[in-house]
């Protein structure tokens, strides 16, 4: 995509809204959305795989592709496109397993410097699908293990995928993997259900389990975003834990707490269309770069508003996570109670975790510094009620064992507990 001139630059009229990011961005954004959409709406598992394969192939203009899934000790072609029927199962060879265990990202086969194991793996797959010349191998799997492999042929133009395109493909593959893995768990659960004729109690447990699975999918998506920005690894997860604690501390209804949980994991999903160079840049951003970066809450909203979450306002919370109490935030310059409480919570958790983490342009800040920063910006940026609950949670955590405060770094930030507690108590006195 990027080798061709951007259509909007060549055109005389610039499109409005998020179309202004260039048609490439819109198309990719829409593709990711279609992807989430397809997975959540498909009537059955095979259809979800077929739609996923089509989105991937359409996004990168690829003519032939097949998804192999591990079943009974072999890899079976579960869906394919652009290929004649009769694809043979692929035995689990040593090479194939070694490749799948070692590789997390899509790899291109026909390149100088491609590892021998990749070439051999491609050869094994090609002998099962003679009509396909293997160009891209994309491992499918989760932390728990190997699920299968996505095999793609050449692009329509014969051009190789750019690093950016491979990155997008990797995001889609991890989303696809989460979908496959969830399907397996659901299958296990439903067969279990049949056998046991479970009572209400058991159903409750299963329901809780279903929610866990659902969250796993969401987390997989977030992890894919974190992967793009090495400086924020684990950021979404920590912000989520802290946000949920604050939401509970404020006594919000359980529905809202769940919405905040999901929104806080996915709040930065819009960064998927931000140039990686901007995310890892160590010097000050230019105006244009800042403008691009600041589009991410709106983009998060555009993506998330297409997904039907079982909880209210998830997309809206992501949209407003950079709004500030005095109206100086973005994208809508909302103020005070115009900002949903969930977004006000995420804003504090996000700011705190950002200060506690190393960033390309600075090291992490001392804990007292981070506390003081939030204290100083109460009413300007942060909601005083939210900040107060946050300080209390922090104090509770510090009074217990440090390991029990998931959002505090395990080491570093060189703080003495006593000193910080004293500082926190002082701070809390300012909040009646």
């Amino acid at each position: 995509m990027s080798s061709l001139p951007r259509a909007s630059e060549a055109g005389s009229r610039r499109p409005k809204g998020y179309l202004a990011g260039g048609i490439g961005t819109v198309y990719k954004l829409r593709a990711i959305r279609d992807f989430a959409f397809g997975l959540s709406r498909a009537r059955n598992f095979d259809e979800s795989l077929r739609l996923a394969l089509m989105v991937i192939m359409g996004t990168f203009s690829i003519l032939k592709g097949v998804i192999f899934l591990e079943e009974n000790g072999e890899f079976h072609a579960r869906v394919s496109r652009g290929l004649p029927p009769g694809i043979l199962p692929v035995p689990k060879s040593k090479d194939l397993l070694r490749f799948l265990r070692r590789t997390r990202k899509p790899v291109t086969v026909r390149r100088k410097g491609t590892a021998a194991v990749v070439k051999r793996t491609a050869g094994e797959l090609e002998s099962a699908v003679p009509a396909l010349s293997a160009e891209i191998l994309c491992p499918l799997g989760t932390k728990k293990g190997v699920l299968g492999i996505l095999l793609l042929g050449p692009t329509l133009t014969g051009q190789e995928l750019t690093p950016r395109q491979r990155e997008t493909l990797g995001v889609m593959a991890s989303f696809l993997s989460a979908n496959i893995s969830n399907h397996r768990v659901v299958l296990e659960i439903s067969s279990l259900n049949d056998v046991l004729r479970v009572q209400v109690q058991e159903n409750k447990r299963l329901l809780a389990k279903m929610r866990e699975i659902y969250l796993d999918t969401i987390r997989a998506f977030a992890a894919a975003i974190d992967a793009k920005d090495p400086y924020t690894r684990g950021h979404s997860e920590r912000v989520a834990k802290l946000s949920v604690s604050i939401a509970r501390g404020l006594g919000l209804p359980e529905e809202d707490v769940q919405a905040i949980h999901i929104a806080s994991i996915l709040h930065d999903v819009g960064k998927i269309v931000t140039d990686r160079a901007i995310l890892v840049k160590s010097s000050a951003l230019t105006r244009a770069e800042t403008r691009q970066l600041q589009k991410h809450p709106k983009t998060s909203y555009d993506i998330l508003s297409e997904i039907r979450f079982p909880y209210p306002d998830v997309a809206l919370l992501a949209r407003h996570h950079h709004e500030w109490m005095d109206g100086s935030g973005y994208p809508d310059a909302k103020r005070d109670h115009q900002i949903p409480v969930g977004a006000r919570i995420i804003a504090v958790a996000d700011a705190f975790d950002a200060m506690m983490s190393n960033r390309p342009y600075r090291k992490s800040l001392p804990l007292t510094h981070a506390i003081a920063e939030i204290r100083d910006y109460v009413n300007h940026h942060f909601d005083p009620q939210v900040a107060r609950v946050f300080f209390r949670i922090l104090r509770k955590g510090l009074n217990g064992e440090r390991g029990k405060v998931p959002f505090l770094p395990k080491e570093g930030n060189g703080f003495s507990r006593r000193e910080v507690l004293r500082f926190l108590d002082g701070t809390l006195e300012e909040f009646p």
Binding site: M1, L4, A7, S8, G11, P15, I23, G24, Y27, R30, A31, D34, G38, L51, M54, V55, I56, M57, G58, T59, S61, I62, L63, R81, G82, T155, L156, T157, Q159
Partner: protein
């Protein structure tokens, strides 16, 4: 269905025009694919895909389009697109589709071109 979103019309000389109306996603894509292959299977000489009524094309739609482009190439059948909205034209440029299919502003131009090349 209350109205057809994919229609086929004889354009003369064994060439058919297939109209694709609406949002080109997986549902419409399947209808479009079937309509084009019906023409080819019936021994038609060529196809003009008229995208005048196509509001948007998503990635699945592109998947169908490139599938058709490839199949037509394999069978040496002639294919042309016409009446694309600007955004869809840009999309075809970006995805490389426009390098393999002639795009025309009007259906008449596309029919004249196909009549000459058949």
């Amino acid at each position: 269905m209350s109205h057809l979103r994919v229609r086929t019309r004889e354009g003369g000389g064994g060439i058919s025009v297939v109209y694709v109306d609406g949002y080109l996603n997986s549902l419409l894509g399947e209808e479009m694919e079937r309509a084009v292959y019906d023409v080819v299977d019936a021994g038609g000489a060529g196809v003009v895909l008229n995208f005048e009524g196509t509001k948007l094309i998503n990635s699945i739609g592109i998947s169908f389009v490139i599938g058709i482009v490839e199949r037509m190439r394999e069978r040496n059948s002639t294919l042309a697109f016409c009446s694309l909205k600007r955004i869809n034209q840009e999309l075809f440029q970006m995805t490389g589709v426009s390098r393999y299919v002639r795009l025309f502003d009007t259906e008449e131009e596309a029919l004249v071109f196909l009549a000459q090349s058949v």
